[in-house]
């Protein structure tokens, strides 16, 4: 049976440190575009930590929301790509095919979560930074869309290992880079098709909600609402 990968983000635990974004960029050969380009709205981060201000100064508090690709079951980005560069694969993930993408950017326009990023330029990794590039992934050329893939290279690696050993994938065997790095452990990844996995148990929590659920995209990323009050 095919796994149904999902991610749980516990907003009670998220401190907004942004380590998840850094880990993602390191794992997935994501370019660092520099302050000027980010100022122009061209950050390449696949996973952004959105920050909203609640209240007015001096009582203002920050609300942090890590936003990866929601891997929507009914992904609006998939239908509008004229070349099938993005589609729904058998793992129920929203797959991105870099070498098919012609760069119309319609998928980015259709994503209500704005998780898709575009390669505005070719990127260079000056020596010795080019040695940090992961050989499991390509380096995308200019003109191509990219986005969070739930670290599909790690999923594939786990699938291959499990197939070699003649077993299914164990719970906790696939850990995306962001989940691996999150210091307070706000991120959790797992297979919803497995009734005993940690994520299935965690998502029984009544705090659960999905982002922009009214749009009918059926995201696979589930958030757990932040609760107010001391010690919680």
């Amino acid at each position: 049976m095919n796994p149904k990968w999902a991610m749980a983000i516990d907003l009670d635990r998220c401190t907004g440190c942004g380590a998840c974004g850094v880990a993602c960029s390191a794992e997935n050969n994501v370019a660092v575009v520099g302050e000027a380009e980010v100022g122009k709205g061209r950050s390449m981060q696949w996973l952004r930590v959105a920050r909203y201000w609640d209240g007015e100064y001096p009582e203002a508090t920050a609300v942090y929301l890590p936003v990866p690709c929601m891997q929507c079951e009914r992904a609006p980005c998939e239908t509008v790509c004229p070349v099938y560069a993005t589609y729904h694969n058998e793992d129920s993930l929203n797959a991105m095919v870099y070498n098919r993408c012609v760069g119309t950017r319609y998928c980015a326009n259709n994503c209500p979560y704005s998780v898709r990023v575009f390669n505005w330029f070719d990127h260079k990794w000056e020596k010795p930074l080019d040695e940090q590039l992961s050989p499991d992934l390509t380096v995308r050329s200019r003109g191509v869309m990219e986005k969070c893939t739930f670290c599909i290279q790690r999923i594939r690696r786990a699938k291959e290992t499990a197939a070699e050993e003649g077993r299914g994938i164990r719970d906790g065997e696939v850990i995306p880079a962001c989940v691996q790095t999150c210091p307070p452990g706000a991120l959790l990844f797992g297979d919803l098709a497995d009734p005993h996995s940690e994520i299935t148990r965690k998502l029984r929590d009544p705090r659960r909600f999905r982002l922009m659920e009214h749009l009918g995209t059926e995201p696979r990323v589930v958030y757990l609402k932040r609760q107010k009050g001391a010690g919680r």
Partner: protein
């Protein structure tokens, strides 16, 4: 119609009509008399078009052929490359309708061009066609396709009597 054509230039429709009537009285069949003019003359004013106009049927055929092409393009590509996108069905009906409609219109257009050009007798570059550039001075060229000999002479006489300028017999296609 090929063979011998008697032609004559006429100033004004009345003269051309008179001469046309004289030709018809020869007798000469209606489908052998026609005009060449710089702007369209109403049917029956000097000559009458006896043949039916058939190419609009090809327009319709072209529409259906195009529609088939459109269905092949959309439905065909959906079925040849079945990828799930956005949780939608592989066979998506409204986009199929849109693409089918557009290609159908293209087919109808192409059909009209091909059949229309043929029926109008355009693109006959190798045949010698009857023509007189003086029609652009407001004159009408009345043409009668005749049997050479007696009929041709009587036709020439009828046109000359009707006020024709430069009445002559020419070899060529109408």
């Amino acid at each position: 119609m090929s063979g011998v054509v008697v032609v004559g230039l006429f100033e004004g429709i009345e003269k051309a009509e008179g001469a046309g009537n004289a030709l018809r009285a020869l007798p000469l069949a209606e489908d052998r008399i026609t005009t060449l003019s710089s702007m369209p003359l109403p049917d029956g004013s000097v000559s009458r078009d006896t043949r039916r106009i058939l190419f609009p049927r090809v327009t319709l055929i072209g529409w259906f052929v195009g529609a088939l092409g459109g269905v092949a393009l959309s439905l065909g590509t959906y079925l040849l490359y079945p990828l799930i996108t956005g949780g939608k069905a592989i066979v998506s009906v409204p986009p199929t309708l849109i693409v089918t409609y557009e290609v159908a219109m293209l087919g109808a257009l192409a059909g009209t061009v091909v059949a229309g050009f043929r029926e109008m007798g355009l693109m006959r570059f190798r045949t010698k066609l009857i023509h007189d550039p003086r029609i652009h001075e407001g004159k009408i060229l009345l043409c009668a396709s005749v049997e050479p000999g007696n009929q041709a002479e009587r036709a020439i006489a009828a046109m000359k009597a009707g006020g024709g300028i430069d009445v002559r017999s020419e070899e060529g296609e109408l």
